[in-house]
């Protein structure tokens, strides 16, 4: 239990650092760190396939892409970064408080109500089976989401190049 709590605190800290840090490069590294910690959570919860995907794609490939794009941009000056940081702290001072309150509430709820999943109670297929074998229709939706994202990026960046 203590280890789980420690991992969760590390995960939230890495997430907050990713959002709050003034450097884009550090932010990308924070994202990789958060994904790596999330991978540990997944392995400990016996979600090995999800863990492998998280480690290879979210902690590996995506940060590499981010870092390579960020390296092409011009960084902010020290004053700009410092003003940006001040504004961000002013805006999001309540964020850690919300995270802690939500975390404690959810933890208390989970202690109070020990619900056994209906799938396990009734010997039905588990969640992984449901997601991979009974929900193929969602795959079509996920393909369209990916396509929409790629299409959107292509439209926005193409125009940028033309104007730049």
């Amino acid at each position: 239990m203590l280890l789980e709590l420690l991992i969760l605190i590390l995960l939230v800290s890495a997430g907050l650092w990713t959002v709050m840090t003034r450097s884009l490069l550090r932010s990308a590294m924070g994202l990789a760190l958060a994904s790596a910690i999330l991978t540990i959570v997944m392995f400990r919860m016996n979600a090995n396939i999800a863990g492998v995907f998280e480690l290879s794609v979210c902690a590996g490939l995506i940060p590499v892409l981010f870092i390579s794009v960020i390296s092409l941009t011009q960084p902010m000056t020290f004053k700009e970064a410092s003003d940006h940081m001040k504004e961000r702290l002013h805006r999001f001072w309540g964020l850690p408080l919300i995270v802690v309150v939500l975390g404690v509430t959810l933890a208390l709820v989970s202690f109070k109500y020990k619900v056994t999943p209906a799938a396990i109670q009734e010997g039905k297929p588990d969640v992984r089976f449901i997601l991979w074998h009974l929900k193929q229709f969602d795959l079509l939706g996920q393909i369209i989401i990916l396509f929409t994202g790629v299409f959107g990026v292509a439209i926005l960046f193409k125009e940028r190049n033309k104007r730049g």
């Binding site: 109670q121 009974l134 929900k135 193929q136 229709f137 969602d138 929409t148 299409f151 439209i155």
Partner: protein, 477 residues
Amino acid sequence: MYALLVLVPFFSLLALNLPFRELNRRLAFGFAAILFLLQMGLVFIPDVYFWRVHLSFFANIFHFQLAADILSKVVLFCIGLVSLTALCVSRSLIKESEERFNFINIILLAVAGMNGVALAQDIFSLYVFLEITAVSSFILIAFEKDILGLESSFKYIVLSAVATVLMIAGIAILMFIAGSTNFSVIHSALLSQNRNLLLSLSIGLFLSALFIKAGLMPFHGWLPDAYTAAPAPVSIFLAGIVTKVAGVYCLIRIILSVIGFNDQLKGILLLVGAFSAIFGALSALTQSDFKRMLSYSSISQIGYIILGLGSGTALGVAGATLHIFNHAVFKSLLFVNSAAVESQTGSRDIDKMNGLAKQMPWTSLTSILGSLSCAGIPPLAGFWSKLVIIIALWLAGYKIYAVIAVLGSLLTLAYFLALQRKLFFAQPNDEFKNIKEAGFGLIFPAFFLAALIVGAGILSPWILSNFILGFNSLVGG
């Protein structure tokens, strides 16, 4: 085969981007227009061959589990109608053919997503198709790449991400309890379980996410900026249908098919609905930007829809659904009018422009019809849906909320009268003396929508009797 409503827009998009792109670019507008017209027509003709087509190749891979009842059909019709309107307006306002082609592509993706939402019978599929709609909306809001559009899109992304987290958490708990993500299985599991805190938490998380997506007060932060900053065809698309499908339709669907009504839920819906109806209207009263006023008006009208739903009766849900249709029509019309005014005067500032009725008579006429329908003046279409909602609230014993709904209507009338007086009927301003009426591309959709408002108003007794019959079986009342 209902899946065609998802597959056809998606594969059309792929086909349009294959070789012969130059030819495809010329055909895209006509193709998309026919597609949207067909969707509007086919939805209410159950016996055509289109619905019996069985694509075994796709069916074997994707195992479609889709269905459409009267609620889905109304929403599918509205999706076709508003998409067609946005498409027509884009022809006049998006001058570059490459940009217009891109706009049509994104609209097709958004339509595939919204059709999926309207047909889904599974809570996870609903979420996946909602995400398609959301991602398309982010791109559409930032379409012109100006600073306001990018900022509004970013704001929507952040709030949408919060909604996604809440929704995923809600789905996870529901799946944990029911062992499935199918609507009917979760509904049975919820009925068999005693209502406990964990269940209430999952439902609360899911509803909060949908309140954000619907732009209800106090979850509305993203909506006025997004509607105002987006290009005119996108504003029409967002205000006319996207918010309704992503927020309001999902809310009604989840309540009818999964959660079911109870006193606490009705209390929350009535409170949020009344708050949005009144404060949305009060905020609209103070706006001087035409589109921003319409944005707050949308929040107020969505509040009305939620009030109807909150009554918890078949009559109330029928009224809410009729108001979804009416709002899609009159709000699209009013956004077309604002686009016409902006394109001719170069401004949206109501305080700056006066007496445009003489120079823009058709825009003025259609905008009066849209405003009066929104304010619930008989015999226009908006009157009937508002009347049904108020009667449903009164009959269900929520008399205070019925009075609040009447008050909201009076406020709506107040801000639209102020708008009409300033914009079209005050002493003409010299600066705008030489402007002309907007072109055919903006006047035709405005006339079409205005005719729908009048036609639906006249045919309302027939529409209502068919609606209420359909909703008795859905609500079980």
